[in-house]
């Protein structure tokens, strides 16, 4: 049975099977996108995007406060998470050739794939219970920030690793202190990668639901206060997905459409940006070489 024809047949079958796996995996993706657009689009209107949820299910209410809440949560999370993540990445890449660096890298990798509900529990334990703030915007942001840190740290490390060693050596040889080398040469050249990582992290946390359920909770009012509960798009979906009220269900699909647009725009945008930046990065390196030599 081991003739060439038989082996060829097996080859064709296996190739077909692999292709079938790809198609099978793409079906849910396309299905979800189509479904969310079809069911979410009828909800869209200016009122829907700007009015607040009253939670009663009367027609004419919107998800404005949830959109605003998600933006606020992500903004504060980025404010906390990005600097820590980038600094961690710098440490691991530039100073991390030792035991501590290895441990930090390892735990960053572990945390990057950690269940977010456990991160939510941590933020709850620290901010809501221990600091006694209660369910609040700031607790939610801390939870999201903790999720961002390992993602940003890993991409920053990656970006700095891509910077050619000759640039670092060149700067040091010119007598530039190490910290300035890192800030002015390394970061400037790794900028594209770091921005990519930051945007991906933002996209990732915008859709997080479980940690917010445990920390930011929900509110049907407009709120700016960091110590008050706040609405968010994912939680709007979760609260309304099972609702017998047509209006509330419609709200869930509308919120899903807004959320998926936000997340996918960030994701696809970043991928496209990455492609065009890869071509430009050579030019940036040259620019810095000339600038440095001019200073010296």
């Amino acid at each position: 049975m081991n003739t060439y024809e038989y082996r060829k047949l097996k080859n064709t079958l296996a190739s077909g099977l692999a292709l079938a796996c790809v198609i099978l995996a793409l079906i849910p993706l396309i299905y979800i996108l189509a479904e969310v657009v079809m069911k979410g689009a009828p909800a869209m209107s200016w009122e829907f995007l700007t009015r607040r949820t009253t939670g009663t299910g009367e027609p004419g209410e919107g998800i404005g406060n949830a959109i605003f809440g998600t933006l606020l949560l992500v903004f504060y999370a980025a404010l906390i998470g990005l600097p820590i993540g980038i600094l961690t990445g710098i440490y691991v890449s530039e100073y991390g050739n030792n035991k501590l660096g290895t441990i930090v890298r390892f735990f960053n990798d572990v945390l990057a794939n950690f269940p977010s509900i456990v991160v939510g529990l941590l933020a709850y334990a620290l901010v809501v219970a221990y600091l006694n703030v209660g369910f609040s915007l700031i607790a939610g942001s801390v939870a999201l920030a903790i999720i961002m840190i390992p993602i940003v740290a890993n991409t920053t490390e990656e970006a700095l690793r891509m910077v050619p060693n000759s640039l670092r050596e060149g700067a040091l040889a010119l007598g530039v202190p190490r910290w300035r080398t890192v800030l002015k040469v390394m970061l400037a050249n790794g900028r594209a990668g770091i921005v990519t990582g930051a945007l991906l992290a933002v996209a990732r946390v915008s859709g997080e639901t479980a940690p917010l359920l445990l920390t930011a909770f929900y509110s049907s009012y407009w709120s700016l206060s960091p110590t008050e509960p706040i609405a968010s798009l994912p939680l709007t979906i979760f609260r309304n997905f099972n609702s017998p009220s047509e209006v509330l269900l419609q709200q869930a699909w509308g919120a899903a459409l807004v959320l998926i647009l936000l997340v996918l725009t960030l994701n696809i945008g970043v991928r496209l940006l990455m492609k065009s930046k890869a071509k430009k990065s050579k030019a940036v390196k040259m620019k810095w070489m000339t600038r440095l030599s001019r200073k010296a």
């Binding site: 082996r7 060829k8 097996k10 080859n11 296996a14 292709l19 796996c21 790809v22 995996a25 993706l29 299905y31 479904e35 969310v36 600094l87 961690t88 530039e94 100073y95 050739n97 501590l100 441990i103 735990f107 960053n108 990798d109 945390l111 794939n113 950690f114 269940p115 977010s116 509900i117 456990v118 991160v119 529990l121 941590l122 334990a125 903790i146 840190i149 740290a153 890993n154 060693n165 190490r178 910290w179 890192v182 800030l183 996209a203 990732r204 915008s206 859709g207 639901t209 479980a210 359920l213 445990l214 909770f217 994912p234 979906i237 979760f238 997905f241 869930a252 959320l259 998926i260 994701n267």
Partner: protein, 320 residues
């Protein structure tokens, strides 16, 4: 790495004041991660103390979760987590490996990049949207065709008893399978791409077909990476919360039938968080502690398996 060694392994302290300040501040940020993990453990143990003292190790084997009598046991949820994760891995792993093989071995080069990006978009869709979709699109399909079919085929086993309702462990398992595909597929793809080209060339030059080359030269070479990828996917399935909470039916009991509603550790926490107080809250946090321990063990194991021959593992997200 080796190239940079001369520059990095500087034993003496930094010369400039600015250097010192900078180095310690980045080190401070880096150790914050470790501090967070440590804090997580300490706080969770502290917060679940009431429950730990009350139930001891019996908590893990207790089959009753009853807020009315204040008796809590985690067994139904550990059971539910294992069962749904099992379904997800059984369905998700073969599919993901097929995808990885196609992306790294078979796809025409111009298609590889875009197609991998599209598969990774599956990981970008928020969990709560998967749940919403499962509730209104997947559920009718399950109730009307998939579950009756499986019941007629395998109805004699204890796994397919009862009426198909669509909100059950099986639906949750299917949704989990879809959600872990991007993780397993992209990490396995990386592992396969890391196989030296000479391996493939050697097999091809001996007259092997593409399939034989893939099986003998690629899959066997990359097997520890692929195994690690599967464990990573498993880790994601264990902690996945929202989509499961929305599809599993939320019943705090042990039942072998996949067509019965159940509860996982994560979905229990998400479901009861708002109203839990006192001992129940403490018990919920203890469930979280168990989940933490499982996720940590799974992730560390996976990391060690994959890390052996890949430096970078794409972070495709935990249980959103």
């Amino acid at each position: 790495m080796a190239k940079r060694k001369g520059l990095r392994s500087r034993r003496r302290p930094p010369r400039f004041g600015g250097d010192l300040v900078f180095e310690y501040s980045v080190m401070g940020a880096a150790t914050l991660t470790l501090a967070l993990v440590w804090l997580l453990v300490v706080r969770m143990v502290f917060d679940s103390q009431a429950s730990i003292e009350r139930f001891g190790f019996g908590f893990l084997s207790g089959g009753v979760w009853d807020p009315n009598r204040d008796v809590y046991g985690a067994l139904p949820f550990i059971f539910g987590t294992l069962l749904t994760t099992g379904i997800a891995v059984l369905i998700g792993v073969p599919l993901s490996i097929g995808i990885a093989v196609y992306l790294s071995e078979l796809a025409p080069p111009w298609l590889r990049g875009p197609l991998s990006s599209v598969v990774e978009l599956l990981a970008a869709v928020p969990s709560v949207i998967y749940g919403l979709w499962a509730m209104y699109t997947l559920r009718p399909v399950m109730v009307n065709s998939v579950e009756p079919f499986l019941k007629s085929l395998l109805g004699w086993t204890p796994l397919f008893q009862g009426d198909p309702v669509g909100l059950d462990k099986f639906t949750a398992g299917i949704i989990l399978a879809i959600m872990i595909i991007p993780t397993i597929a992209s990490v396995s793809k990386e592992a396969m791409m890391a196989v030296p080209e000479s391996q493939r060339e050697a097999a091809l030059s001996l007259g092997a077909t593409r399939y034989e080359t893939t099986r003998m030269a690629v899959l066997s070479y990359a097997r520890s990476g692929i195994f690690g990828a599967c464990i990573l996917g498993l880790g994601r399935a264990v902690g996945e919360t929202m989509a499961v909470t929305m599809t599993i039916g939320n019943a705090n009991k042990i039942s072998w039938s996949l067509l019965d509603p159940g509860q996982t550790m994560a979905s229990l926490i998400a479901n009861n968080w708002g109203e839990a107080q006192g001992l129940q809250l403490s018990a919920l946090i203890e469930v979280g502690l168990v989940l933490f321990a499982v996720a940590l063990a799974v992730n560390i194991f996976a990391r060690l398996m994959v890390g052996r021959f890949m430096k970078n593992i794409p972070a495709t997200g935990g249980g959103l």
